[in-house]
Symmetry: C2
Subunit: 200 residues, 2 copies
Amino acid sequence: MSHKHLPGEERRELTVETVIALAAEQNPSDITTAAIARRMGLTQGALFRHFPNKDAILQAVMEWVAERLMARVEQATAAAPSPLAALEAVFLTHVDFVARHPGVPRMLFGELQRAGESAPKQLARTLVQHYGEHLQRIIATGRQQGELRAEIDPDAAVLLFIGTIQGLVMQSLLAGQLENLRRDAPRVFALYRRAIGSQL
Amino acid sequence: MSHKHLPGEERRELTVETVIALAAEQNPSDITTAAIARRMGLTQGALFRHFPNKDAILQAVMEWVAERLMARVEQATAAAPSPLAALEAVFLTHVDFVARHPGVPRMLFGELQRAGESAPKQLARTLVQHYGEHLQRIIATGRQQGELRAEIDPDAAVLLFIGTIQGLVMQSLLAGQLENLRRDAPRVFALYRRAIGSQL
DNA sequence: AAAGTAAGTAATCGATTACTTACTTTAAAG
DNA sequence: CTTTAAAGTAAGTAATCGATTACTTACTTT
């Protein structure tokens, strides 16, 4: 084994991507440090040159996800001409992100399920929280502009939005096919639009 | 330790309920046979007098869930006067079931995430499959009777239904409060009804 | 009362886990 | 070139996992 040495920051990034790739194939809580190292072509101990412990690895993963996902979502929102268009753009952007990184929702949900109060769990929780607040702002302006029904419950609308994506993820989890995600996304959003939109 | 001996079938039932109770508190894949036995007031080895291995325990749990959940769902369907009323009854029945047994959705999702092709995973998959087919039948008759819009995509409607419940579960997972489930359920279903119903 | 059986215990097994230690290699600066 | 700190290896560690063992208890049947 004569692998090239890489600078630490680059190795950390590769580690995060490896964990996400592994999470797409198996239960996130079953991902061992040995499996991560093997996939990277390293020995298990080498990981601890860059991370103090396993939780720090998971924490880096959650930070990676939070940055990338929220950045894309906010970008999609800014480029949309109206609140309803923004919701659709965020929806499709999110689905596209999940299709590219199928391990991400599994890691997120896996972290939220954990018992204690670990750092990665905390990050997962704030990510979902920020995501929900972002959606709520879009919905609020949509109601003011009359594009969305005034009678809708904003909290329920946010919940339905996130739940809808979760349903898509679960469906692809059952079929094991990622193509279904992008294919079904527009059809499902059409239903969601009907639920909240003011026009018929 | 002088615990009374129980007949096997009763012990198996208690084991299942214990696992579900534990799943409400921690990550299902972190539930050890030692933890199950401790909660039951038994030694770890005693479990293997009733189950050949750990997977058999999880399999019994999935069978328990499949029987109880589908039975209630079908009962709620039969008692409903119309397809739309049936969907609402199934929705609230499902939410009530989850509120009573918070560990159930976590176990289900946990099993679906597993890598290989274990028996409990197979059971979880067929349960979701049967559930979806049941919903699809309700939706089909609803479309025929004109209570639901003819233009809706049945697959998308089923996906949205299940995803909505998942969203509720995730929300209570974040807040850690079960009361929210029953409180939010009607509001969220009101949105869902708007998405698929023919009347305004 | 004797024999049989199901259900329990306590101890231990090999395998696997996250993490540590001692040593070696690489790469880049002086 | 030489030096040196970061990066990687190989071989450990203690702890924990599911599962098995030999044995005991409680209850039923003959």
